[in-house]
Amino acid sequence: MTELTQGHPIASLVEEDGEALSFRVHRSAYRSQEVFQTETSRIWGHTWLYLGHETEIPKPGDFKTRTLGGRPLIFCRDSSGEIQVFLNACTHRGTVLCRFSEGNTKFFQCFYHAWAFSNSGDLAALPGDDAYADVDGFRERMRLRSVPRIASHEGFVFIAFDPDVPDLLTHLGKAAHYMSLTARIGPAGMETVPGVQLYSVKGNWKLAVENAMDGYHFAPTHNTFVGYLRETGFAVTDDDQYAYDLGGGHGLLILTGHNGRIGMVWEPRFGEAERERTVAKREEMVDRLGSELAAEIADASRILFVFPNLLLFDLEALTIRQLEPVAPDRTDVRAWQFVEVDEPADVRALRIKTMVSFVGPGGLATPDDIEAYEAVQRGIEATADSADPRFDWSDMSRGMANEREGNQGRSIDEGAMRSFWRHWAAVAGRD
C-alpha cells in the first residue's frame, strides 16, 4: 500500500461491488493535497498529455507558451517546419526563457544573461562565450531541454515527460479512431482559430471529466438550454444516446437525440441556407469518404475524453478543451474553436455563434456545469472527517445492473464515469 489519505490507500478511494451494484468514490479524491501531488507525479508525469494542435503554430517560427502538468513549456515550429516542445526554462539558471504567450521568432533569448537559443533548441549565442572555450561540448550540453516525447495524431500534439511511455497510438487506443472521425469533417482539413477561452474553475479536474461523461445531468442542469432548443424548434431527447468505455481511462458519449450538427444534421435554428448546404455537404462527404464513414462521422454528436486532459466536443460544432490541474480545488481550462479549413464565412460565423452560445464559460449551458463542479467542491467539505465515514463517498452506480446484463450503457447512466475512475485508481494508486 502507498500513501494513506484519511486512512485510505489511493487505490481504495474507488470502491466497486458488482454483486451489490455499488460503485463509489471517496471524496478525498477531490480534496486531498496528497492525492493531487500523487496525480501530478503518477499521471501527469507518466502519461501522454494533450498539448495543443498543430494549426495553432502554422508557420515556421510560430510559438505558443503554456503550462502543462505544472511545467512551463514552449510549443513551437522551428525554422525547418518541425514541431518542437521545450521546457520554458533557460538551461543556464532556470529563468523562464520566453515570457510572451505567443509570437514568431527564430531565437529565444533569455533576458537575464542574454543566452540565445534557436527555435530548434541550439544554444546559438552567449555573451563572453570565450570563458567556456576550455569546456568540452559546453554548448551541446546546454541545449534547450526538449520534452522527452512528442507525437501527434491527426494534428493533435501530445507530449510525455516520461521517456518510457508506450507510443502515442497505443496510449490512445480506440480513442484514436474518434479523433480521426472529427479530423475528417472538413474536405480541406480542420484547424483551430484564434480567440482562445482561458478560464479557471474552483473545482477538482476530475469533476470536469465526470461532468463531460455524464449524460444524466443534462436535462436538469441544462434545463434553460434545453428550453431554448425546444423554442427554436428542436426537441432534445435522451433516447439513443450511449456511453462507451474506450479503455485506458478514455471515454465517449455518442449522442443522436441531442442536437444538430452544422453541415451534417440540420436543425431549425441553423436557418434555411444551412439546410441546403447540409444536403450538399453530405454528398461531398459521401464522395470523399464513402457512405459508411460519412454516416459515422456526420450522424451522431460525440463527446470524447482522452485521459487525462483532453475533451473533444464534436456537437453542433467543435470545441477542443484542455484541463490543467492547478490545485485540488482549482483547474485551469483552455478551449479552442475547431473549424473546417476554408469554409464559407457565413458558415464559420454560424459555427462559432452556435458553439460559443452553448459550450464555454459565457454560453447558455457551460456556466451551469461550472456551477455544478464548484458546488460539489464546496459541498464535499461537509462530509470531510465525518463522524460517520459512510457519508464521505460519492455514488456512481447508476446503470450498473444494465451494464452487468451486458447491455450497452446509456449516456444517462454513469458507466463512462466508472471506467474513468477505474483507470484513475489503477494509475494513481499504483505501488
Binding site: 484564434p194 482561458l198 479557471s200 474553475v201 434553460t224 464565412a345 452560445s357 459565457g362 456551477e371
Partner: protein, 186 residues
Amino acid sequence: MSTERTQQVERSERPEQVERKENVVGGRTITRPEVEDFLYREAQLLDEWRLDEWFTLFEEGGRLEVATTDWKGWDSSSAGSFMCDDYDLIRARVKRLKSRKAHAENPHSRTHRMISNVLILEQGESTVWVAANFIVHRYRDGGTYTYVGRYEHVLLVEDEGLRFRLRRAIPAMEAMDAGARLSFIL
C-alpha cells in the same frame, strides 16, 4: 494595448466616418454626458437584474459580444469569443437568466459596476462609436471576482435616446480567474 486594439476594430463595424465640426449624429447633437448617462443607466439596470428593461436598450438586430483575453481586434464571426450573441440569443440569454433554472445565476450574483474614461471615438450618419473602461465586481458564495476591461460599443442615435447596435466588452485580464465565469452580463 487598448489603443492598439481600438485601431484594430474591424472597419465594417465602425460607423461610417463623416467630417463634422460638431457632434451632430442622427440629426441632433450628441454629447459625452448623454453617452455617460446611457452607460450608467445600463449599469444600474444590470446591477439590479432588470433584464427585460436592459434588453430594450438594444435595437432589433443588435449584438452582444465579450471578447476572449487574447483578442487582437478580430471579427467575432471568424474567431472564438466568450459571447457572440445575435439578437435572438440575447433574448434567449435574458429569458434564461430570469429563470430559477439558470443555476449559475440562481441565486443571482451581486454585481457592482464602475464605468469611466468614456470617449466618443467616431461618429457616423446615425451611429456613434464609444469607448469606456469598466470594473465589475461580482460576489457569490463567499467568492469575490473582479472583471476589468473596456467597452467599445456602436450606439444608434435616435431622437428619444441611444440604443445598442453592438455592445462589446473586452476583458483586460490575461485569463478569467478561478471562479470568474461569465454567467452574467459583463
